[in-house]
């Protein structure tokens, strides 16, 4: 990506006004680590969003609120009650990237290999968008397609709100990758709500091996009302093919990736169930 100008707004309102004026000639810039994946020939004006006070993690009531410009390493290092976000953040790329790459940058443009959209879908996160005023939207709506549609006219992602997990809630994420820093081959995240030893609610999402991250409704439906056992998880995972058409990855066939995804779904559910059982406040 070629830059012809570099602008540093000092408030959200200023940033929005500038981006609104620039239209397609403007580029909201946070960490900027993904720009070399975007080989644009036409020079653009970078609008630096790191000076807007959007780098923070706050525990507010039923949510953890994470500022859109918070680097992944801060999320990785943060600890809080029933906090689960570090698990995936420590698996994303390398330390130097995690120091610069932001949660907002990871989800405003969704690359096929992105892990965070998967996690946020399963977590039922809420996304806070600034369009002159702040408005919220659920992850299902936000990730229904490439989020760029939400930011035309200079609107900006301001924060991500993660529900604080309640007792009997469990979360698990699994990233299958060739080595520590590699892009994901399959990412799975699962949120389970247990009640009286049975699954009362489930959110299971997948990414990387499919064109765009999504939830797996057939898998979720198969879990409902069942006891959280390996057998139930395996049976549910075997339905994933109804929801997702797995793609070949890194020289490996679609059939293999489908198998890897199913195993990863079971693993993520196991982790979520352990989480739910292990911490019953």
């Amino acid at each position: 990506m070629k830059l012809c100008e570099f602008i540093r707004p000092e408030s959200l309102a200023q940033a929005r006004a500038v981006l609104r004026k620039l239209g397609p000639k403007g580029l909201p810039l946070a960490g900027g680590t993904a720009l070399h994946f975007m080989p644009g020939k036409v020079p653009v004006t970078a609008v630096d969003l790191t000076g807007l006070g959007l780098s923070y993690i706050r525990h507010k009531g039923a949510f953890f609120e994470i500022g859109a410009a918070t680097p992944l390493s801060d999320i990785q290092r943060h600890r809080g009650p029933r906090w689960a976000m570090h698990e995936i953040c420590r698996r994303i790329s390398t330390h130097q990237i995690r120091n610069v790459s932001t949660i907002g940058g990871n989800i405003c443009r969704v690359f096929p290999w992105a892990d965070l959209p998967v996690v946020l879908l399963a977590m039922n996160a809420r996304l806070v968008i600034y369009s002159g005023k702040l408005k919220e939207m659920g992850a299902d709506e936000y990730f229904s397609s490439q989020p760029a549609r939400l930011f035309r006219g200079g609107d900006l992602l301001a924060a991500v709100k993660i529900p604080v997990l309640k007792a009997h809630h469990g979360f698990g994420s699994v990233k299958a990758a060739r080595n520590a820093a590699a892009f994901s081959m399959v990412t799975i995240a699962a949120l389970l709500e247990l009640k009286d030893g049975r699954i009362a609610a489930a959110r299971v999402a997948a990414g990387s091996a499919i064109p765009f991250p999504k939830r797996l409704p057939s898998v979720e439906a198969a879990l409902m009302g069942k006891e959280p056992s390996a057998e139930v998880f395996r049976a549910a995972a075997s339905l994933a093919g109804n929801d997702a058409k797995w793609c070949k990855q890194e020289g490996m066939s679609a059939e293999y990736v489908a198998n890897l995804a199913e195993v990863s779904i079971v693993d993520a559910l196991e982790r979520a169930a352990e989480f739910a059982r292990g911490r019953t406040e």
């Binding site: 390398t94 299958a176 060739r178 080595n179 520590a180 820093a181 590699a182 892009f183 890194e250 020289g251 490996m252 066939s253 293999y256 198998n259 890897l260 195993v263 990863s264």
Partner: protein, 779 residues
Amino acid sequence: MKRHELARNLKQVNHSVTKIDAMQLALGKDSYVADFLPKDALVIKMLWSPHAHARIKKLDVSKAEKMPGVKCVLWHGNVPRNVHCTAGQGYPEPSPYDTFMFDTKVRFVGDRVAAVAAETEEQALAALEVIKVEYEALKPVFTLDEAMAPGAPVIHDEPEAHVPIPITYEPKKNLVAHVACEAGSFKKGMAEADFTFDQTYETPYAQHCPIEPYTSMAQMTPAGRILITTSTQVPFHCRRIVARTLGIPVQKIRVVKPRIGGGFGCKQEILLEDVTAMFALRTGRPCIWRFDREETFRTGRTRHPFRIRLRTGVKKDGTITAIGLECINNTGAYGGHGLTVVSCSGGKTLPLYHCDNILFDGKSYYTNLPVGGAYRGFGATQAFFAIESLMDHMAEAIGMDPLKFRQINHIRPGEGSPIFQALGEGREGLPMTVGSNALGECITQGAEAAGWEKRRDWRGKTGRYRRGIGMCCLMQGSSIPDIDMGAATIKINEDGSFNLNVGATDLGTGSDTVLAQIAAEELETTTDKMIVYSSDTDMTPFDVGAYASSTTYLSGEAVRKAAADAKRQILATGAEMLGLKAEEVHCEDAHVLNADGSRKVSYSDIANYSLYQKNQYQIIGTASHITKKSPPPFAAHFAEVEVDTLTGFVKVLNYVSTIDCGTAVNPALCEGQTEGGTLNGISYALTEEYLFDEKGKMRNASFADYHIYSMRDRPPIKAILVPSYEDTGPFGAKSVSEICINGPAPAIGNAIYNATGARLNEFPFTPEKVLKAIKAVKK
């Protein structure tokens, strides 16, 4: 004293002396090619072929030449057409001359089309975009089968293509090289066997991945010569090949190698220097060309992929009655190293085990894929995967522990092999018996460190995650006997320090330090008294360069001889100063002294005397060395793995890498070579691979997609140096750096088998391949 203890009393050698350039590098001082970039340097960029096989019908650079900042454009229409070989080998090379600076044909995606030198990188890139090329696409050849098929497209149809020595080369059949030999009777050996085996193995492409990419700079000196500062393993070959390619005398070129950021074989190739030199000559300006990472993967050199058919026969008592090794390799679009890599696949492996009936057949073929070159292990890496996989297979068939099977069969000290003579590098080798050999001890110590006794048959293993242990044995060589030469000069300074000038090339291994230790040992002084200067074609004596595991063994002996020469002069002058005869004095602790030490003069006094006071002359020793042997280092490797039987992911839990490198001149550096080569071998076995699209373009040309290990991925590696003493090497040393990369693929493959019963004849052991093999296992 036992033989292997001969090095025990040495004072400089066999000590982990601090690497002499380590602090300079840790401080980040200017050290590498790009650190010496003059402010006014032009930047070179190349237009690469997007086609695997095509003829250039039209090439129009006129618009590019007029672009802002552009100083010069080079293409086939304006440079000399001198056929040459880019492989940095001895002369005449045992490789085809099949390359031009620029040609009218492109032979792989990433082949040269035209180059631009401009004031800035952006300007050079902009100019590339306006070069107009019209290609006539030709049918590409992507597999060995396609290359060998009757009527296959001919990749090198240029009339100039030839080999400069009398060896098989049939470009019309895409055949780069063919070498074959037989000892005893393979047929007879197979008939005598109780069990026979016939397996085919495939080994993959890989790139060396030096962290410093290929980088080269050229500038005109005030005297009108070309100074090439370049990241090379072969400065002298570089000078010769650039002279040939440009059609100018060797005298006009000076090649300097500063510190270089890793090579592993890929910088034994003259890939950039002809173009940087040509631009400097044409523009009169300093010119720099640095490959980016993608170019390093795509156009840089690679490890030759091999297809290996291995047939063996074994008796119930463990006697190996026959080995038939047939190797076919893909050299890619150009044929440098095609003959030697395939020769080494037999020559550096087959002597390891006793066998009276050995058949070897090796062929190399052109394809329209990336080009193979020298890479640590060179041929032995590929063949050992087959041999050491099949050794386990054979042991199982006769019901013998695979470790014991190797113990009863491996070559012993004092033994020879007909293969040493039959397979040289470019011509017949030399007959040789093995002198030093501590392989037996390597196996014992490695087995203990790896916990071999806890190894259990895979059939009893259950559960999702299964563990297994595998091992393998290895050998390599040390230098190319009777062909490669190294030389050194050493002179004394007033304070008793010495200038040690060597042609030998330190590519980050620490050879400058190792050579300084050898000189200091011979001269009875300390390593810190050595000022080492290496690899400058104007200033240092000749050396073939850093390849074929030669620097310590070959150049080291040249250094020892040069030091001995200087020492003889020091003794003579010292004796003169003391009024004694030369026979009455000896050297000790940087002094010359009489027998009881009652009278002595220091080296500093001797230097001052000889330089300023009486009978003045320069104390200077010089020597050359060629070897008559290529003594193999030996190694036994052990891998413990955990296999996820649901996904096929393999995790290496522990790795033990033993090595007999003779005397370890610098034990810490020897361990470093062993650990580094081993980890490279581990990722080669598990995660490194070239993925191509349907047009023959590598589609994972970045560290994001081509997976080498980080500190987070690395398993614990235990390097164990097992001493022996090689009489023909300097202070008992032989080679260390290449052998270690050969072990992980077979050791891990054998460990996967021991964990799961799944036998893979092809690597990298990707999760999909492993899972498929596990599913095919029948208990």
